[in-house]
């Protein structure tokens, strides 16, 4: 489902130096597989996910999703592939504040293969326990509810690959557990691969497959003191 090979990304520091952030030799995920990546803040986890999602263009290497090679595509085709195959759960939710809960999910769907299926969006939100909040704005919801909207938006398109960036980072223990269970459950139902990054040991402990991003990322090893 997901294959990463020799993926590299550098940024220019304020001092003008070229700093390598990501250097992953190989990483793969099969369909339906669920893997948790452990990593500290600033370790390049989000950049790694952005590279997989095609939000960032890699300097070198290869990212292949469901047979389509992301890294050779132009920006427009990357957008298309992201909309068709990926669901992305952001650490900070990234909900559109001026849109209602339902609009957030429907809008997310409208760029993907399912199109703006309002009934399906309502059903997914209902499953997240947000059936009574469809026409509320994100600011009118609790943090936990906002997180569930973000999850609903990422999963509503039945993506083949779900990328979750610290999805429970802003939640209390109980809500974190609930959200995580829900994400894993829906991914299992859709046979979607799940790649979750977190530094929370309690979250990581729930996954059978865990990888240490520091071991995976050669860039951090090279710059470590």
């Amino acid at each position: 489902m997901l294959e990463v090979a020799d993926l590299k990304k550098s940024f220019r520091s304020p001092e003008g130096d070229c700093v390598e952030i990501v250097n992953v030799a190989a990483f793969a995920l099969a369909a339906g597989e669920q893997v948790a990546l452990r990593g500290e803040s600033g370790s390049g986890k989000t950049t790694f996910l952005h590279l997989i999602a095609g939000i960032l263009a890699a300097d070198a290497g290869r990212v292949s999703i469901d047979g389509a090679e992301m890294t050779v595509l132009g920006e427009s085709r990357r957008d298309r592939l992201r909309a068709d195959k990926l669901g992305y759960i952001f650490q900070t939710f990234n909900l559109l504040q001026g849109y209602t809960v339902l609009e957030n999910v429907v809008l997310g769907m409208s760029f993907g293969p399912c199109g703006a299926d309002r009934a399906h969006a309502e059903a997914v939100l209902g499953r997240m326990g947000l059936g009574h909040r469809l026409h509320h704005f994100p600011r009118q919801l609790s943090t936990g509810q906002q997180q569930r909207v973000a999850v609903a938006r990422a999963l509503a398109n039945r993506p083949r690959l779900v990328l979750a960036d610290e999805p429970t980072g802003n939640l209390d223990r109980r809500h974190a557990r609930e959200a995580l269970t829900l994400i894993r459950e829906v991914c299992r139902e859709n046979n979607a691969a799940l790649l979750l990054v977190s530094h929370d040991e309690e979250v990581l402990a729930q996954f059978e497959q865990r990888r240490d991003f520091a071991e995976l990322n050669q860039a951090m090893k090279e710059t470590a003191p």
Partner: protein, 403 residues
Amino acid sequence: MTLPLIIYRSLRQHALSTVVTAGSIALACGLLMSVWTVKTQSQAAFASTGSAFDAVLGARGSKLQLVLNAIFHLEASPGNLAYSDYLFIKRHPAVKTAIPIAVGDNLRGYRLVGTLPELFTDVELAPGKKITVQPGGRFFSADPAAKEAVAGSFAAEKLGLKPGDTFHPFHGLTYDEKNQHAETYTVAGVLAPTNTPMDRVIWIPLRGLQTMSGHDPRAATDVSAVLVQLRAPTAGFMLDLMYNKQGNRLTFAYPVGTIIAELFSKISWFDRVLELVAYLVALVAAGSVLASIYNSMSARQRDLAILRALGARRRTIFGAVVSEAAVIGVLGALAGYVIYFVLLGVVTGIIRAQTGVVLEVWRWQPVLGLCPLAMVALCALGGVVPAFKAYRTPVAQTLAPVS
């Protein structure tokens, strides 16, 4: 529904700047349409007002003054001409109709014009358009001793005159209550609206005005002007030569349409100034669309980055921003129609009160379609710069902090 939803939500989020920007577009659109319509309609209306007569004969002086005085009932009369001059032109073989008029009195500011009943019975304002009297009234009697008057519709409305009412005329073209004449006139009828300066006049028999108490008895047969219809247009040049080139006592104002066109060319600078102002307002409005959307880009960058991260393509974002600018243009153009009708209502009222000429506010003009379309296009163009900025939004940097 994606694009309409993005546009709607963005407009809602920036409601104040949307309203202000659409307001300035409405002002520009309304102004442009009003200036254009007033210009074209007033030229057409003034030209058609003069089309009932080919020429005006009057005392030596300005042709324009003669036409304004005799046909539009504006300005002072350049002087009188003898009754024999009227009879001469009336009997000229090239002349089809000659109607004398005499001015010099008013009723509370509305001119009294003395004329012959033939003005109402023999003259058509336009082909097939005869002058008629409103129900319950009739034209005045040809006998000046009857002291009857026919009021134009606008004058009757403003003065509250109806058949059977009586009044005393006042001397002069401007109202002065101390200059009341002794004669008492009875309103025989009120003219049906003609949408011409005739509506602002109170008509009485020619002889009645000539012999009004207090008028100079030596001028009791003089007339102020003669309205002339010719049998053939070429005859006009012959009479023009005879009165204006060979003679030096009278003025033959011919052709009336050209003289009115000269009037408009004299005031065309005013049209151009108004047009220039309207074009500037339009440019400022389009600029404000650009500035308003561009300034909101910083606040919207995160939303745009989220949309991109969800899979929205760059061209979708570009299209959304340009469409949003166009929608602001559409809203402004729609409000522009309201401003247009309000402005034109006011201007039409003023023109009617001052000249009797009525502009048709509801009549379709090509500018009513072209101007809003041009404004929407201009606004869409104004949206291109912010759309390009949105197009280049760096998604990863704008989203969550790198971890």
